[in-house]
């Protein structure tokens, strides 16, 4: 997946509070669908849908442990999305610093 599309998918995946809570649980260790459904009082198919969104965003991976297929966190994908935002912030801080200098110049010329 292209980097920008992956970042969009990450943002979209994180925009849901249940999915964020699932990630927080997985940060403590891998869990099966059954183990995740219990704290949320959600059906397993409902949890599976959330896991699919998270997997497509690369935020989790699913193990091959028979039928259990435990979900585990992939922290690199999350780090990449936040890194992109920090790059974007630095770029625009620099842009606005230059704009500020230009405006001072423009004011003097009026």
């Amino acid at each position: 997946m292209q980097r920008a599309a992956r970042i969009d998918a990450t943002f979209a995946a994180l925009a849901d509070p249940t999915r964020r809570a699932i990630l927080a649980l997985l940060a403590k260790g891998e869990k099966s669908v059954m183990e995740l459904a219990e704290p949320f009082e959600m059906s397993q198919p409902a949890i599976s849908k959330h896991l699919t969104v998270l997997e497509r965003a690369g935020l989790i991976s699913r193990g091959r442990d028979g039928q259990r297929r435990p979900a585990r966190l992939e922290p690199k994908a999350l780090a990449e999305a936040t890194g992109w935002l920090e790059d974007f912030r630095k770029t625009w801080e620099r842009n606005y610093e230059r704009l500020d200098e230009l405006l001072e110049e423009m004011k003097k010329k009026r």
Binding site: A24, P75, R89
Partner: protein
């Protein structure tokens, strides 16, 4: 002097940037809409130049921006203006040429003046295939950044 830059994600596809400058609104609007001025500041990180800055700032007008780095090559962006209301706001769409680009972004830029200071608010809404596929629940909670920070805390335990 300018204020510090406030930048945060909003919802699942928006980024909001807010900054204020010690200048009247008309000057700031000019700095955003005159190509010879835009090429002086919208350069991105250090060491990039802007060899092409063409802007036809009116509804339906197009723009073309090309940035160049001595070793990293070029990046190019094109766009169209949809609404232009001097000196209060501009709505345009933009997209990078590069194949890694994720499509059009809709950008709304507002200029508000108070006591000789002008606040610029830019809201960038990016196109997202995932959103169109309806994978998102309605009523998105804002504050994705706060969520990242919470997760970071948990992950670093």
């Amino acid at each position: 002097m300018m204020s510090s830059l406030e930048l945060r994600p909003q919802g699942d596809r928006e980024i909001v940037m807010i900054c204020s400058f010690d200048a009247p609104r008309q000057l700031v609007f000019d700095a955003f809409t005159k190509p010879e001025l835009v090429a002086r500041w919208m350069l991105g990180p250090e060491d990039w130049t802007m060899p092409v800055c063409e802007m036809d700032v009116r509804p339906g007008g197009k723009f073309r921006w090309i940035w160049r780095h001595a070793t990293k090559g070029e990046m190019a962006m094109s766009g169209t203006y949809h609404e232009v209301h001097p000196p209060s706001h501009i709505v345009h769409t933009e997209r990078f040429d590069e194949p890694w680009s994720s499509g059009d972004a809709l950008v709304t830029t507002r200029f508000e003046e108070a006591d000789g200071r002008t606040t610029v608010t830019q809201i960038m809404l990016s196109e997202s295939t995932e959103a169109r596929d309806g994978m998102l629940a309605s009523g998105m909670e804002s504050g994705v950044k706060r969520s990242y920070e919470r997760l970071d805390e948990i992950l670093s335990q």
